[in-house]
Amino acid sequence: MTTEVVRVEGLTKTFGSAHALNGLDLHVTPGEVHAFLGPNGAGKSTTIRVLLGLLKKTAGTVELLGGDPWSQAPALHRRLAYVPGDVTLWPNLSGGEIIDLMGRLRGGLDEARRAELIERFALDPAKKARTYSKGNRQKVALVAAFAARAELMILDEPTSGLDPLMEEVFTQCLAEAKAAGTSILLSSHILSEVDRVADAVTIIKDGATVETGSLDSLRHLSRTRVEATLARPVDLAGTAGVHDLQADGDRVSFSVEASDLGRILGELAAAGPTSLTSRPPTLEELFLRHYDTAGAVR
């Protein structure tokens, strides 16, 4: 039996009369990269703070690495690393000092890995934190987290201040951590980044889980986008199962449900396609299905 790294069931958290979390479920299995998605204010950071034992749950079940995050926080934290969404550091300490402090609190850090990560993230560790930009503060927390070689990493929108080059470094580091067996909970609203690295996804809205599963299983729920150039024009406007049709001369593009894909492709083949591309739905599209109340994607 595999024990889950994170097991959250029916989690409720209220602040006074405001309900931040309303029966949220979240399951992270060992070794997976689990994307935790939701719009701003959905409750991602609140969930993470409950997982870190910084907030007390109101109701529900929360288990972190097999323990209770509130009462066993220090012992559990030895096995995890965290990068906050908005990294604030001690202004008078240098980045190097902060990385070493966080490492020593955990009982030492991997020296070679520390040096390598500072190099790869192009971080100047001798600068006082006061003078770091947002991106550089984030790099300090990322270096400290990746150098920790933890069992579980909790990353709250970790790339929001990084430039594309550094995002690439981050993605590599994430892949390495995953290869080393680290479980990763990655909260984000930048979908393209988790699209590439995530194994599983939990989407939340208004403090409750609306969708969860492996990325592959979720893709089945969504439509494939098809673009084709056709020898003979064909009118798909009335065809059942075709959505968001755009026709421009001999070029057509549309979305199609997985169950209708075969039938529609048959019709296209009859029209003599000279080129055909199809791509799976991006997380963006999965995401919008749940949030876009106007239904623009439908």
């Binding site: 926080a73 906050p84 927390a141």
Partner: protein, 526 residues
């Protein structure tokens, strides 16, 4: 100037409530002090004896300055002149730093700077706000005093004293805000300047104390080095001298000009005092939550210890001037009036000063326990506590730091006094600590209940300071007795270990332990 008006509007909008409160508070204080004097001193004989008593008591002179004339205004307003002018300077100075360096540090200024405003618009707006507040307090206080039947010229001079002191320290704060990169450092620099001004004036006043029945002539030269000394030398309701106002005004203009010159030329976020590079690696000592806490408070503790040592040296030095008064007949009479049987003038002086400096050291205690709150609200505590750090241990480290730091600062004060007074005064200096710890514990409890209640400690400390002028504010007797500083044995030779002292230590200990336990049981603020 581009963008001055919108900036000014924003500044006033953020402060509108406190501006009104401060204005009303100051005018009410002036009115209350004068009305108390009118009832207490019905005839000239009572004024004469009150003026003499106040001008001959070194602890009162050090705190409030001498009384320059036996008039209702001069006697009645004595507690308002230097002390409340300095308090107003503190207020305007902190307001200026709040709208300049603090905004810059938090990044709010950057958002503002991206819109169409001049680089010097925010500092000028902050200065205008403080200047307007100072002038309003001065004008309305003068009007109310005249309305109550006080001498018109004296009232105007009194109002001017408050107004121009407030403006001068706002200008000084404006300069401080240009020099350092951090708001905390700017506030520290400002506080050192204000404290030095107060101390220099105290030294100048105490050095010329007479006990032959005449009122003092000119203060010692030290007073002329201090803007608070200049303000005092306006001598409202006595000589009503307008020319020291020019000194204050000239200083304000000069400080503002230098500050704006720097503001116009420096980079956003930069200070004149550059931030050096840090260490590439953490020292081997920086490996625990306690080490981090020590690191966060180290600079502040060193600054306070040096400051308290300097204050102690100055007080001890004043002792010799006071000692020469002790054989005097008039002084002995005064001692008897004060009920000081068995103690001498110098002991009373030191006892009062140790108690007052205890209030200053309580500010250090509050500042340290409040650091835990700001660590929390800034998100740094969240990051730290994501490591294997027990919440209780983290919070307790700050409380311990407050107790230790206040002890070290008190020790520095005692050592300073001992060095120049030529006798052991360390124990009486330390005797104020139980009161300091009670205030610290109250601040800690408030912060433990909610990180947003960090200001409770400051309010409690302000109330303790206010008890010093409880008599002129016509507050009931029990109000003055609430202050824990009224119950400590700081007078040299007094028994330190009294029931009251033990009670204070117990209250402080219970408060600190309760704070530590309740903090780690609640949600972390984010």
């Amino acid at each position: 100037m581009t963008g001055l008006l919108p900036t000014l509007r924003l500044v006033v909008r953020r402060d509108r409530i406190q501006l009104v409160v401060w204005l009303l508070l100051y005018v009410a204080m002036a009115a209350s002090a004068y009305s108390t004097a009118k009832t207490n001193y019905a005839d000239q004989a009572s004024l004469d004896s009150a003026a003499r008593a106040a001008s001959e008591n070194p602890s009162l002179v050090a705190m409030f300055g001498p009384v320059y004339s036996a008039t209702t205004g001069a006697v009645g307003m004595i507690k308002m002149v230097v002390m409340m002018a300095a308090a107003l300077g503190l207020l305007t100075g902190l307001l200026v730093i709040r709208h300049t360096r603090a905004d810059e540090e938090s990044g709010r200024r950057e958002m503002l700077g991206a819109s169409a405003i001049d680089r010097t618009a925010p500092p000028i707006a902050a200065l205008i706000e403080s200047t307007a507040l100072s002038l309003a307090i001065g004008v309305f206080s003068a009007l109310v005093l005249v309305g109550m039947g006080a001498d018109a010229q004296g009232s105007i001079m009194f109002g001017a004293l408050w107004a121009f002191t407030g403006i001068a320290f706002a200008a000084f704060a404006l300069l401080c805000a240009q020099l350092t990169e951090g708001a905390r450092a700017a506030r520290g620099l400002f506080a050192v300047g204000l404290g030095a001004a107060y101390l220099l004036r105290a030294v100048g006043d105490v050095s010329v104390i007479r006990t032959d029945g005449t009122l003092p002539a000119e203060p010692g030269w030290e007073s002329w080095l201090s803007p608070l000394g200049w303000a005092q030398q306006i001598r409202p309701f006595a000589d009503d001298r307008p020319w020291p106002i020019l000194l204050l005004l000239a200083a304000s203009v000069a400080l503002t000009a230098v500050a704006l010159r720097i503001a116009a030329q420096r980079d956003l976020g930069a200070g004149l005092i550059p931030v050096g590079r840090g260490r590439e690696r953490g020292s081997a000592l920086l490996g625990s939550v306690e080490a981090l806490t020590w690191r966060l408070h180290r600079g502040q503790l060193i600054g306070w210890s040096v400051g308290m040592l300097a204050v102690g040296l100055a007080f001890g030095g004043m002792g010799s001037a006071i000692d020469s008064l002790a054989g005097n007949e008039g002084t002995r009479e005064m001692l008897e009036r004060l009920g000081g049987s068995g103690s001498n003038l110098l002991d009373i002086f030191f006892g009062a000063e140790f108690s007052i400096m205890g209030m200053a050291i309580a500010a250090l205690g509050i500042s340290i326990v409040n650091t835990a709150c700001s660590e929390e609200t800034s998100g740094r505590a969240e990051y730290l506590l994501s490591g294997p750090v027990p919440r209780l241990r983290w919070y307790a480290s700050h409380l311990t730091a407050a107790v230790v730091a206040t002890s070290i600062a008190s020790l520095a004060l005692g050592v300073g006094v001992t060095l120049t007074a030529g006798r052991q005064l360390i124990v009486p200096a330390l005797a104020a600590l139980p009161a300091v710890w009670v205030i610290t514990a109250i601040a800690a409890l408030a912060g433990a209940i909610s990180a947003r209640w960090a200001s409770v400690g400051w309010i409690v400390l302000a109330l303790c300071v206010t008890t010093m002028i409880a008599d002129v504010l016509k507050l009931p007797d029990w109000v003055a007795k609430i202050s824990p500083f009224k119950h400590v044995a700081t007078q040299p030779g007094a028994t330190v270990l009294t029931g009251a002292t033990v009670a204070l230590v117990v209250i402080a200990a219970v408060g600190l332990i309760a704070a530590a336990l309740s903090e780690s049981r609640r949600d972390l603020a984010a």
